[in-house]
């Protein structure tokens, strides 16, 4: 027990020292060890790569570890209990926030949807959860924070929450229960209560470590490729390559990005290289964030899975409401960051 805390503290200390000194360390590697000439395109690209890869991966390890520990306090069963009997608006806010911290995999979307609805969680509240859970995730936030700064990450998280709350609220107000397949309401799900065991903090540390192993193993390659792409175009592709297509002046770029993004399916790590390339080359922030949100938040495979329990009209309304929300956010950002 004591040992684990010692190891953890030592790890955090080393992490912090390394992270704060990445800049000089990169300088030493690039200029002293490789002996590259300063301020050429190639040197800048290599410097960018050597600096960004450890930076983003280190952030990812730390955040995924922290989130892993936080998530060990939550479970879908517990979230359902918290959401039961909540009124519409308060329920939407709570469901969206819980969507961020409850462990969720889109492969569990159906049992989760059924379990919520059948035990009396309102339809709109359930949707708030289903929208927030995939859209606001730790990998997306780390990448936005690491590559574009904390403002962008915060904006993404807060507007993502806003969309989940509003879209769920609208779906709730529209009274769409008739578009849920009828057998859903006919079966009553059993509620299960897991014995609330007191998990020692030691085990939660293990939960954090296994989250790091699982997630970092899944996404590190995308991130390295993404940064390599970013480094490659850093000095080589003309600065305003995308400006005319996805810049602020092109009003149609926001809805178009969302339309392209919906059928695309990717995790946050896979989409970041594209996001980075687009931003770097003059696409505007609102347009790019709208694209990213529609790729991560609305996906064709997930809607096809949902077809088992929802009639096509409700799926249409779901995609429509969320899509409109994302478009509004896109315009808002383009307006704010004019």
């Amino acid at each position: 027990m004591k040992n684990k805390f010692l190891v953890l503290s030592a790890f955090l200390l080393v992490w912090l020292l390394l992270y704060l000194n990445l800049n000089p360390i990169t300088d030493i590697i690039v200029y002293s060890i490789f002996g590259l000439e300063k301020n050429t395109h190639l040197t800048n690209a290599i410097w960018f790569f050597i600096f960004e890869v450890p930076k983003v991966l280190m952030l990812l390890v730390l955040v995924v570890f922290g989130v892993g520990i936080i998530r060990s306090y939550f479970s879908p069963e517990r979230t359902r209990k918290l959401l039961g009997g909540k009124s519409l608006f308060a329920g939407n806010v709570l469901a969206s926030s819980l969507g961020v911290v409850t462990p969720f995999c889109s492969c569990s979307a159906i049992p989760l949807f059924l379990g919520f609805v059948q035990s009396g969680v309102p339809l709109g509240v359930t949707f708030s959860f289903l929208i927030a859970a995939p859209m606001i995730n730790e990998v997306a936030l780390v990448l936005l924070f690491g590559l574009f700064g904390w403002q962008t990450a915060l904006l993404y998280a807060s507007t993502g929450l806003l969309i989940a709350i509003t879209a769920g609220y609208v779906i709730g107000r529209l009274k769409l229960e008739k578009f849920v397949e009828s057998w859903v309401y006919e079966t009553k799900a059993n509620r299960i209560e897991f014995v609330e065991e007191k998990i020692p903090f030691n085990d939660r540390i293990d939960a954090g470590i296994s989250a790091v192993k699982e997630i970092v193993a899944k996404v590190w390659l995308y991130i390295v490729i993404g940064i390599a792409v970013g480094a490659g175009i850093h000095g080589y592709v003309p600065e305003n390559f995308m400006a005319s297509l996805m810049g602020k002046s092109a009003w149609w770029s926001v809805p178009l990005s969302v339309l392209i993004g919906i059928p695309m399916y990717s995790n946050a790590a896979g989409i970041i290289p594209i996001v980075q390339a687009l931003l770097e080359k003059g696409a505007s922030l609102g347009t790019v964030l709208a694209f990213m949100m529609s790729v991560i938040g609305l996906s064709l495979p997930e809607t096809i899975i949902l077809k088992k329990v929802l009639k096509i009209q409700l799926i249409g309304i779901f995609v429509g409401v969320v899509g409109v929300g994302i478009i509004i956010v896109g315009y808002l950002f383009n307006y704010i960051f004019a």
Binding site: S75, P76, E77, R80, P103, F104, C105, C107, S108, I110, P111, L112, L114, G115, F116, Q118, T187, A189, N190, R191, I192, F194, D206, S210, K308
Partner: protein, 81 residues
């Protein structure tokens, strides 16, 4: 007869859990059968909300996560006859 049920559709963790159960039984020479339940209605009846769900002799042990192998060995050994 001891019965271990793994609830879950095609998700990667579900397949992994089923394989782990079989492994534990074989390695420890235990007398138990492993059954994979993929029917969504049957899954919902148990009350779990995320897959994979693990049930040993009628007792639901966990849902939505993959236990470590040592935890799984404990669970199985403690709950079968």
């Amino acid at each position: 007869m001891n019965l271990i049920k793994v609830y879950g559709s095609g998700c990667a963790a579900c397949k992994k859990l089923e394989a782990m159960c079989r492994e534990v039984i074989q390695e420890n020479n235990l007398d138990a059968a492993v059954e994979k339940v993929t029917d969504i209605q049957a899954i919902m009846k148990t009350g779990i909300l995320s897959t994979p769900g693990l049930e040993i002799n009628g007792k639901m042990m966990s849902s939505g996560k993959l236990p470590t192998k040592s935890t799984l060995i404990h669970w199985i050994q403690d709950n079968i006859n």
